[in-house]
């Protein structure tokens, strides 16, 4: 009898190329069918995965050696040429990759199993960057696939990972099936996050999407599915009744919810106004409305996320202590805010983003802002946030989104800390100070030094209000008691999982 796990994922898989998109579901898909050279473990330490490495003493040459037995799903062995092509393509899309390429002298395959990466300047975070799981991990694809354009999605889905993608059964946005890759040779050792031995114990894993949260819960309780990646916290009481279901947290870090303002247009081009807005907000209110159950959220003033090595909560007192409406009012008065309406974009079709705008709008109104909350679907929002027009002409002033903590846990990858004006992330702050601090961070070669710089960035962010951290929350998963051996991980992985019949 075949063992099949049916899992309800947080979203439908539509983009199969994990390099072209930063969507989590595509990344998760990537980890199923591809493998990576290096992967961070649960202690944020890079560990060898496909390759071991050596670093030259001047810290300028990294030499990677592929381990034995690596094979693509079509039977071809994995060679260093495949790796080089994959890394090159990846670096065109990943911001961390771009930073490395800025200091890269050469990246070459010296023989079938060896890759040599030469730098012009030291880049202490290189291994962290290629071992990270967000936003775009450098998945290794065959050279013929990876040599294509980085702006066009690949059309062949062959990796060397523990699962094989079953193309015939793929229904975009609905379901995707993975079969165990029989020729996969797991690394020695216990699995830890993306590192360690990825041993597959079932024959098939099926990811399905259920647009209706209750349907998924009902299906889990009646044994029609085995696993729900994210359960809405409000619905947990439904599951508690069932003995066959376990609710647990797999990813202790969870998500950070944030607000981002537009630096290009009044009134948020004025630092005082930004500070006033931040002062009006209370993380507790946002989180209580969004999540409800305090077991699953955490007030957290650290922009790099609580529970991460760089965490520091300087400057977040008002946020974490319930907001300071009076202070906000005073600050707003000082700022010379003239009542310009604030265009606040509210997505209506993404459950995890509907509460923040509503709560924030109310708080800002209380502080004396004139808020024009505009509801729209998420697609309209993402299009509109790319617009640099004036708010009244189809632009915007503020919006909210969520990040997985590993996506923002250091200043190199956190998109909001980019201060390069028009080249920065939406909101386009022009902030030389933060750029200097980031350079300082790159240069920092010990964890202690890094932490020092990170604290400065935290303080700077809270003063400049590059973005507003609104707290952290976790999404519990639910599984049938038949599933055993799930490991903790921000990315839901299906190796080492077994299913009792």
């Amino acid at each position: 009898q075949e063992k099949t796990i049916t899992a309800v994922m947080h979203s439908g898989l539509r983009v199969l190329d994990p390099i072209i998109t930063t969507a989590h579901i595509s990344r998760n898909h990537g980890y199923m069918i591809y493998d990576v050279l290096v992967a961070v473990d649960e202690n944020f330490q890079p560990q060898p995965q496909m390759a071991d490495w050596t670093i030259s003493d001047d810290k300028l040459t990294y030499t990677f050696t592929l381990r034995d037995g690596l094979k693509f799903h079509d039977g071809a062995p994995v060679t260093s040429k495949d790796v080089v092509a994959s890394l090159n393509r990846w670096a065109k899309r990943d911001s961390g990759g771009q930073l490395i390429m800025d200091v890269t002298e050469s990246l070459e395959a010296s023989d079938d199993k060896t890759i040599v990466w030469k730098l012009t300047d030291p880049f202490p975070a290189l291994l962290d960057t290629i071992g990270k799981q967000s936003a775009i991990p450098p998945f290794i694809m065959p050279e013929r696939v990876a040599s294509g354009s980085a702006d066009e999605a690949v059309t062949e889905y062959i990796g060397s990972g523990p699962f094989v993608f079953v193309e015939e059964e793929y229904q975009p946005g609905v379901s995707v099936t993975y079969r165990k890759f029989e020729d996969y040779v797991p690394r020695e050792g216990e699995p830890s996050w993306m590192a360690g031995g990825k041993e597959v114990k079932v024959d098939e894993v099926k990811w399905v999407t259920m647009p209706d949260a209750q349907t998924a819960i009902n299906a889990l309780m009646s044994g029609e599915i085995d696993y729900i990646e994210q359960v809405q916290i409000d619905l947990l009481p439904l599951l508690e009744a069932s003995e066959d279901v376990v609710v647990e947290t797999r990813d202790e870090l969870g998500y950070q919810t944030i607000g981002r303002m537009n630096f290009k247009h009044p009134p948020f081009d004025n630092k005082k106004v930004r500070q006033a807005a931040m002062m009006a907000l209370s993380q507790e209110d946002v989180l209580a409305t969004l999540i409800g159950n305090p077991d699953y959220y955490k007030v957290c003033g650290a922009i790099f996320g609580c529970g991460t090595p760089l965490a520091d909560d300087a400057g977040s007192e008002t946020l974490t202590s319930g907001g300071d409406i009076e202070g906000a009012k005073k600050l707003l008065e000082e700022s010379g805010y003239d009542g310009t309406p604030i265009v606040l974009m509210q997505p209506t079709d993404v459950v995890s983003l509907t509460a923040q705008p509503v709560v924030a709008a109310q708080a800002m109104r209380n502080a004396g802002f004139n808020v024009d909350m505009q509801a729209m679907d998420w697609q309209t929002l993402v299009t509109r946030r790319a617009s640099q027009s004036k708010p009244e002409d189809g632009g915007w002033n503020i919006f909210f989104t969520n990040w997985m903590v590993p996506e923002v846990n250091n200043p190199l990858i956190s998109p909001m800390l980019n201060g390069r004006g028009d080249n920065a992330w939406f909101g386009w702050p022009e902030d030389e100070k933060v750029e200097e601090l980031r350079a300082e961070f790159i240069a920092a070669d010990t964890p202690e030094k890094q932490k020092e710089v990170a604290a400065k960035i935290q303080a700077h962010n809270m003063d400049e209000v590059l973005y507003i951290p609104l707290g952290q929350y976790i999404m519990p998963q639910a599984r049938s008691t038949k599933l055993t051996g799930l490991i903790e991980s921000p990315v839901p992985v299906f190796w080492s999982v077994d299913k009792e019949q």
């Binding site: 209706d212 949260a213 209750q214 809405q232 409000d234 619905l235 009481p237 439904l238 507790e284 209110d285 209580a288 409305t289 409800g292 509210q346 209506t348 079709d349 459950v351 509907t354 509460a355 509503v358 709560v359 709008a361 109310q362 909350m373 505009q374 509801a375 729209m376 679907d377 697609q379 309209t380």
Partner: protein
Amino acid sequence: MAATPEPAARMQWLFGAVALPKSWRMGTGPMLAAIVLTIIVLAAIFAPLFVPHDPMEMNAIQRLKGPSETYPLGTDAYGRDLYSRVITGARVSLFIGVGAALVSVMIGLVIGLVSGFFRLADAIIMRIMDSLMAIPSILLAIALVALNGPSIWSVIFAITIPEIPRVVRLVRSVVLSVREEPYVEAAIALGSSMPKILWQHVMPNTLAPLTVQATYICASAILTEAILSFLGAGVSTEIPTWGNIMAEGRIYFQIKPSLIFWPGLMLSLCILSINLLGDTARDLLDPRLKKREG
């Protein structure tokens, strides 16, 4: 081609031909319906005067609570007062219903009259109407709402566009049959001009079926708004409507059914009353019917 029944005409006939129990027609039914509707409308208009809370005011600590003294029907997922929201929700829901009905009936009436009487315009108009009708209305609505943003007006607009062809077909079919009536021919013989005949002789005949159609549109607009909210393309969730109260409440259906029950009850009561009143109004509008019954 033989006379195939006009779908739209059938539609009106369908809803028109609902013979109500005698007792309802004359008295209790429509009376009750009128009372219910009046209460709902008055409640909606004067909601701010007596609902205990601002329907938009959130209280995160109090989310998803059961009925209590401060919150007569409990609270929703944002800690807002369900009672205040359901009562206030009538405003937008009824506005959308009535707005969609009025707009589509008025536009459809004019287009229908023109296309029923002028052969040349007819071919072109009917092709366009066929096309609009063939486009699935929910999809069109979603697309239109996405286009204009989820304001009340775009919801009305979205609901109206696909309804217009149905109204046009209905009006047109009435025009086609009425214009063969001897009294219209007599009016032609008496030298009345076309616009005058259209307006004075033909148009009044469309009123009865249009009333029924309008109540149908009104009812289905309120429902469509609910479905649009369900799909995340309705009116801004901040503003309460029965549709988005239910849409927001749907994921709590199993743990807090009252979030769907109360707005659903209001919606059903309203649609029921509107239907009843529509049927009654049709009877009142048609002197011939009066005679037959009397």
